[in-house]
């Protein structure tokens, strides 16, 4: 019911358009920029230009510049798993770039699709019809899982549509590599979205009005982002610092996101349990 409610709403279309637009924009820019770079390389060194992209990347990673500069930086932000995944091609670079931008955009889209899940029912007092029939915990969990499944479905639809589009329109697009990587990305995406849905539902449960939930949820997301920059210790703990590693299914990142999801959903339940409806 909750999933259908979300998918039938205008905001589902908004998510598809906004997130689809972002993925399309970032992916197109990537293909354009890398295309230009490859053209320059081909002009300078025709032998490298004859290699396929995977071999070219492996060759690049052997270079002194990569070993001394880019390698340590990649290892710092994404661990050895990132370097290995890029080297063996299990994580196509285009997908990683798109996911980096997704990490910034998706929490906002989760907020847009979820700020009124609880707050609307509390504001109109429809919750009173519901809460005489089910426990408050069940109500919150139903809302969380409904939104999570709905947004995850929308994200997967966007990925599938755009990968299909790119495969048809761009001969330089590594469709096979992306298709291979996507199922694992979706597992990471599921954990990513669950944690952020929990975060948004805390504000949705706290606020007396949907608009207040939207405003405070937005401030909450911005606040955590700023806090992450200002206080490095919080930056290490907050899930926002682990998303890149999550796309590579780093076990520590998985633990961080699952712990965040558990704590944030428990807080959302606690908020609703203790309040008068």
């Amino acid at each position: 019911m909750e999933v259908l409610d979300l998918l039938k709403g205008v905001r589902a279309l908004l998510v598809v358009i906004m997130y689809g637009g972002l993925v399309l924009g970032v992916g197109s820019a990537y293909l354009l920029i890398t295309g230009k770079i490859e053209e320059k390389i081909a002009e300078a060194n025709p032998a490298i230009a004859m290699m396929d992209r995977k071999a070219m990347f492996a060759e690049m990673m052997k270079s002194e510049q990569f070993t001394n500069e880019l390698g340590p930086w990649l290892e710092k932000i994404g661990g050895t798993r990132l370097v290995d995944s890029l080297a063996d091609g299990s994580m196509p670079l285009i997908l990683l770039v798109v996911l980096l931008f997704s990490s910034v955009a998706l929490p906002a889209l989760v907020l847009i699709t979820g700020y009124d899940r609880l707050s609307e029912d509390l504001h109109t007092r429809y919750a009173r019809f519901v809460l005489q029939r089910i426990r408050r915990e069940s109500w919150v969990l139903g809302k969380v899982l409904g939104q999570w499944a709905g947004v995850l479905a929308l994200v997967i639809v966007v990925h599938v549509l755009l990968v299909a589009l790119a495969s048809l329109t761009s001969p330089r697009f590594d469709a096979a590599g992306v298709w291979r990587a996507l199922p694992l990305v979706w597992i990471g995406m599921a954990m990513f979205l669950l944690a952020y849905v929990g975060f948004v539902q805390i504000f949705s449960g706290l606020a007396g009005r949907p608009f207040t939930a939207l405003a405070f949820g937005g401030m909450g997301l911005m606040g955590m982002w700023l806090l992450k920059l200002i206080v490095p210790a919080i930056g290490e703990i907050w899930m926002g610092a682990w998303d890149l590693r999550l796309w590579l299914l780093d076990p520590i990142a998985i633990a961080v996101f699952l712990a965040h999801a558990g704590v944030l959903i428990a807080l959302a339940v606690l908020v609703v349990r203790t309040k008068d409806v």
Binding site: Y126, R128, F129, V130, L131, Q132, R133, I134, R135, T274
Partner: protein, 316 residues
Amino acid sequence: MSALELVQVTKRFGNVTAVDGLSVTVPEGSLFGLIGPNGAGKTTTFGLIAGFLKPTSGEIRVHGHVLGAGTPRAGSLVALPQDAEMPRRQTATQALVVLGRLGGLDSATALDRATRALDRVGIRDLAHKRVGLMSHGQRRRVAIAQTLLGEREIILLDEPTAGLDPLAAAELRALVKGLAGERTIVFSSHNLAEVEALCDRAAIIARGKLISVGTMDELRSAGGLVRVLLGAVPADGLGGVVEQVRRVPGVRSARPAGDDPKAVDVEVDDKHAGGPDAVASELLKQLLMAGIVIRSVERGKSLEARFIEDAQRSET
């Protein structure tokens, strides 16, 4: 056996005490009225019973089971909240089926019960109309229909006739009357004549406190209330009559009635030998002997008179 019991229930919102040590027992199968002036705490009391609000202290028991805040009353209690809205995008049937399913019914049973409930509140023809496109009265009926999805629950109706046109209100009263006996119903209304006509028991609350509780007859005559109607007011006014009445054994107090210039309201001691009736007889005898022209002596009052008196007393 009591269906519902409130034991010393208190609810505070910050410094404001909305319900103050309220203790009420609702017998099984009764049609129980909850009445009080605006701000008396009726809706808060309903919210506490239904579990929407958490009591600051006290205990609420449904069929003997103590229920904590947030515990669903599914199967034991169902409420019509005063100002809650049904989802505007759903049809009446969809909205009721969802609530039926949440209440533990399977799809087919939920649909069947929803259809029957809509039929019972007289809007079966609107079953497939979106709630958002309905009039206030029609939406109210859908909300009432959701209380009829179950079979055994205590039904709480908070101001069910508010906003309904006279015909719809009369139909609703007939519906409630029809449910009496098969279900325990707690009913609140500002319309005291409505409560008097429908309910067999009632509680009067004011400023969050219980003022009176009992059967309708008990409420009308509670405390041994007697009204003396004079044939004519003596030339020196009602003062002499009031003094005469106060001297009668068993009379607690007497004062000119606020709503009738030829009447004196008398409060007699329930526990006086022979009870209020004996005191009323003695009162009549002594007034007649004093040459005062009496039209009649009435035991008790209308619920409205009782309510006004209690409300005024609670103000002081």
